[in-house]
Amino acid sequence: MVPEDDIIMSTDTRKLVTIITESALEHNLLDDIERLGAHGYTITNARGKGHRGVRDADWSTSSNIRVEVVCDAAVAKAIAGHFREHYYANYAMILFMCDVDVVRPEKF
């Protein structure tokens, strides 16, 4: 396999944090994400099923959003910790993360 860093000059590794949760949380979440040090985010509308049952877009209080944040490991850790503490108990939410190679590492 090609070593990661060889693929493009200024490639570097960052965390991609993905959060899937209730649309109602959108404003709060984005505030948190920025406050915790991320420089951007991307949102798509989603539907799904988990421990809190089916959530599809038909009825606005039960639709989901899928939020992605590319950031360094420290910020990722902060986001995961904060969300676990503040939202996990009462909201439909999952969070997972993985390593990604980014092209303009200075952006994130």
């Binding site: 209730e22 109602a24 949380l25 709060n28 049952g53 877009a57 038909d58 009825w59 606005s60 209080t61 039960s62 939202y87 108990a89 009462n90 909201y91």
Partner: protein
């Protein structure tokens, strides 16, 4: 309008299709568009009439209706907490839903009175707006006390500038400023199509209500009973208040309907953010799965009978 009015029939069609698990569904954008049209129509019509009314006459109704908005959830809470054995946040959240109002129910009542040629006080849309807020405050305080954590500023911004309030109040102001002649060029959409738009809206509401039934089965009979009996109680309170305020038969019926209806848009959104421990399924399935259908199919005709009775012309 009998139960066989096409508007009600569209609701029943939606209910049946939903219960049979049809794939029928209006696109969310269309459903939202219909809601916008209904809110503007109701506001406009109220605003046009309002222009004819001295402002001083509003003071009494505004304050007493606001008071009712504070009191109804205070009555609902202990019933839910001690009779229904709901957890504190759940009881508070459900109580808030029933203290507030449903614009969809109001729209059907408007159409119902129109088809019976019964007029009502023009400031009624304003009462819808006024009833939206107090119940939310009471709900939050019952759930968590006057907590510092609650961001009241942000909350009141969200409630007061929510879609419902802006369109109702905005529509009223436009109708008030433009007057009946000014509004004429836009009447073909906002007035002539009102009933058909309401019919489509109710089709989707039927589908949504049907989708709540499975949750209801899970949460039991108490919620079903509450979703029927508490509105009946509220209707009596609302109707009586209307009478005290010297309202016409139509106005009494309207205030009874408003009192009897439960919120399913503004309150759920506010509760989700401020009382997250409350299970949103409980309140939504009661409000949408029981009370909304009950009011459309049974309540509204009943409240008119009741209003006539109060006015001594019951029939």
């Amino acid at each position: 309008m009998t139960p066989l009015d096409p508007i009600v029939l569209f609701f029943i069609l939606g209910l049946i299709a939903g219960v049979l698990r049809s794939e029928l569904r209006l696109p969310p954008a269309i459903y939202e568009g219909l809601t916008v049209l209904l809110l503007i129509s109701i506001g406009l019509k109220g605003g046009i009439e309002l222009a004819k009314q001295p402002f001083a006459e509003l003071v009494g109704p505004v304050f007493s209706v606001m008071l009712m908005g504070f009191l109804l959830p205070l009555v609902a809470y202990p019933v839910l907490r001690y009779l229904g054995h709901f957890k504190r946040p759940d009881a508070a959240s459900i109580a808030a839903h029933y203290g507030s109002v449903s614009v969809g129910t109001f729209a059907v009542a408007v159409a119902y009175l129109a088809s019976h040629d019964i007029s009502f006080e023009s400031y009624m849309p304003l009462m819808v707006v006024i009833l939206e807020v107090p119940a939310i405050l009471v709900g939050i305080i019952m759930a968590r006390g006057i907590s510092r954590e609650t961001r009241w500023g942000k909350l009141s911004h969200e409630v007061l500038l929510g879609k419902g309030v802006v369109l109702l109040v905005g529509g009223m102001l436009i109708g008030w400023v433009a007057g009946p002649v000014g509004v004429e060029p836009i009447a073909p959409l906002f007035f002539d199509l009102f009933k058909a738009i309401l019919a489509l809206f109710l089709l989707e509401m039927g589908l949504i209500a049907a989708s709540q039934i499975s949750s209801l089965r899970r949460y039991g009979l108490f919620l079903v009973g509450f979703g029927i009996l508490f509105p009946l109680f509220s209707a009596v309170v609302g109707g009586w208040l209307g009478l005290m305020l010297g309202m016409s038969t139509g106005g009494v019926m309207m205030l009874a309907t408003l009192a009897a209806s439960g919120s399913y848009i503004a309150v759920p959104a506010a509760m989700r953010l401020t009382v997250p421990e409350a299970n949103p399924t409980l309140s939504i399935s009661a409000s949408l799965g029981v009370t909304f259908p009950f009011n459309i199919l049974v309540g509204i005709p009943l409240y008119l009978q009741f209003a006539k009775l109060l006015h001594g012309s019951g029939g």
